[in-house]
């Protein structure tokens, strides 16, 4: 990894501790791999990836629930069908970028929430594309 990227230094908790030396050496010692690191698997552009937290149920039909952890990659260009984070009227909003009658709009994945039309709004910014949502079942 990059030499001056300090955040890639993280704690890895080894599965076995090699200081336990009593008895026979484990036949698995030679096959110890590093542990699975979700950062590595979920994030391909670490320098443009940010985390956000969902509040509310506006995206429930897309499987995104209250309190879910959202991973956003800002380097991606949003295309129709993507779930995006937008900055609208001083707030972060999560919606699906959709297209109807040749016109882009932001669709709420919950019938109780309004869609958002870009018409009549100047101050809208698509902030990033959602690449994962993480839900806790505990």
């Amino acid at each position: 990894m990059d030499s001056f990227d300090s955040t890639t230094k993280r704690f890895r908790i080894p599965l076995l501790n090699d200081s336990v030396s009593a008895g026979f050496p484990s036949p698995a010692d030679d096959h110890m791999e590093e542990n699975i690191d979700l950062n590595e698997h979920l994030i391909s552009n670490p320098f443009s990836t940010f985390f956000l937290r969902v509040k509310g149920e506006s995206m429930i039909n897309a499987g995104i629930k209250d309190k879910d952890l959202i991973i956003v990659d800002k380097s991606l260009i949003a295309k129709p069908g993507d779930i995006v984070i937008a900055m609208i009227d001083g707030e972060f909003t999560i919606k699906r970028l959709s297209i109807k009658n040749d016109e882009l709009y932001l669709k709420a994945e919950n019938h109780n929430y309004p869609d958002f039309s870009f018409k009549n709004h100047i101050d809208v910014q698509i902030w990033g594309v959602v690449i994962y949502s993480i839900h806790s079942y505990l």
Binding site: D2, F4, T7, L52, R53, K55, S75, D123
Partner: protein
């Protein structure tokens, strides 16, 4: 075009970096005037373009403009270095992918080297990198390109001052370089300090072009090799290389202003001890050890008292051990204390740093290997725990923080990009 060399150097810096970091992660601040205050909420050190437009000046003490800012509905924030540090790291790493070498020059600027394409035109490269950084981080950068560092700096200034430049200026591709150099006054040339600038002005040298064409002997007589190098760079030679691996720091300083001035020895010692712990931690994280430990304290620059004192201790063996350093700092704090004065700032400096990996124990003061290992194990454990469970999970009893001397950070925004507990919320 009169470009001869294929290599170019660009100075890339972020515009209104601190304010942009805040505005990018907090939708509430988007398109609003924002100012950032220095440590201890002292004065204004950064402004968003919207705040600039309101003619709010850099360096203004906050208390003087508090009401005005309130009336103008300006968002006021304490400096949030965990956010700026993280965004800086992202910025530099992204830039690295688009150049050959990079020298990080400060939190928001870097020199990069880049080869010119066949048509010598670096504008497409600069436009690309500029839109990429905006897309990825929400930060606008300025790109100044030249044959060397001094000219890249000048080009960056021009990029900011020329309306049609759109944040990019290549000084080496202009037909009339002289006209542009004339626009840069000598005090704005990189490496020209106030004294040098005064001397140059007294000689009638007002701008970068006149400095370049000045009598060489005269400049060498006054400024030596540094002056000669500066002049050569202005002439287009490359004297100052990109320093890829900058030398490690010569010293580590931890100092803070007090929320309210302190007068008691006890408070001073406590503050210095806290700084000493932080400084030792910093040293260990960089594998450094110090053999010269200094403490200092001073009264406020704005008060009628004018007192400052420092004291230091040279050590036979360099150390990074918090316990040993604390003992020394506590003793030193007595030396600089004076009951007559109200101290507004104090700090510790770890000087004479050496890399602990190559450290040799002196024969005279030989500590047994076992003791040494014990203390370094303890320190490592503490660092690990503090890293794991947030700062100061474990600390030394001497530092129980009283409110009076901790820094004022009344308007601190969240660590939105580095702390899972503080990430932004999507409300709709």
């Amino acid at each position: 075009m009169r470009i001869s060399s294929n290599d170019a150097i660009a100075l890339i810096d972020a515009n209104n970096f601190y304010a942009s970091c805040e505005q990018n992660i907090n939708p509430n601040l988007k398109n609003k005037p924002v100012v950032i205050l220095s440590n201890n909420d002292g004065c204004i050190i950064a402004r968003s373009p919207e705040a600039r437009a309101l003619k709010i000046k850099m360096g203004t003490p906050y208390f003087k403009v508090k009401e005005k800012l309130n009336k103008l509905d300006v968002a006021v924030l304490s400096s949030n270095y965990s956010l700026y540090g993280d965004m800086s790291r992202r910025l530099m790493n992204l830039l690295k992918n688009y150049c050959e070498q990079i020298e990080i020059y400060s939190i928001d600027e870097a020199f990069v080297s880049i080869s010119r394409p066949n048509d010598k035109n670096l504008y497409p490269w600069a436009r690309n990198i500029r839109s990429l950084i905006y897309q990825n981080l929400g930060i606008t950068i300025t790109v100044g390109i030249g044959e060397n560092k001094v000219k890249a700096k000048i080009a960056n200034k021009l990029a900011k001052n020329i309306d049609y430049s759109a944040g990019i200026f290549d000084l080496a591709s202009t037909k009339n370089e002289n006209n542009y150099l004339k626009r840069i006054s000598v005090d704005k040339v990189w490496g020209v300090g106030r004294q040098t600038s005064n001397w140059l002005q007294s000689k009638g040298i007002k701008n970068a072009k006149e400095l370049r064409d000045m009598e060489e002997n005269e400049i060498i007589k006054k400024l030596g090799i540094i002056g000669k190098r500066l002049q050569l760079e202005l002439k287009g030679y490359k004297c100052l290389p990109i320093e890829k691996n900058k030398k490690s720091k010569k010293e580590i300083q931890v100092s803070r202003s007090f929320g309210t001035p302190i007068t008691k020895l006890e408070d001073l010692t406590q503050a210095l001890a806290t700084h000493a712990i932080k400084a030792s931690e910093k040293m260990r994280s960089q594998n450094l050890q110090s053999s010269d430990i200094r403490v200092f304290a001073r009264t406020s620059k704005y008060s009628n008292q004018n007192y400052q004192k420092s004291a230091h201790r040279k050590l036979t063996n360099a150390t990074d051990d918090t316990n040993s350093i604390l003992k020394i700092v506590v003793e030193l704090s007595k030396e600089i204390y004076n009951p007559e004065y109200k101290f507004s700032k104090a700090g510790v400096l770890m000087q004479d740093l050496t890399n602990s990996e190559y450290l040799q124990q002196s024969v005279i003061n030989y500590k047994s290997q076992k003791d040494l290992k014990k203390s370094s194990n303890l320190m490592r454990t503490i660092d690990l725990l503090n890293k794991r469970f947030n700062n100061n999970a474990i600390t030394w009893a001497i530092t129980k923080t009283p409110k009076s001397w901790t820094m004022n950070k009344n308007f601190l925004s969240r660590s939105s990009t580095t702390d899972i507990e503080q990430i932004p919320t999507i409300v709709k």
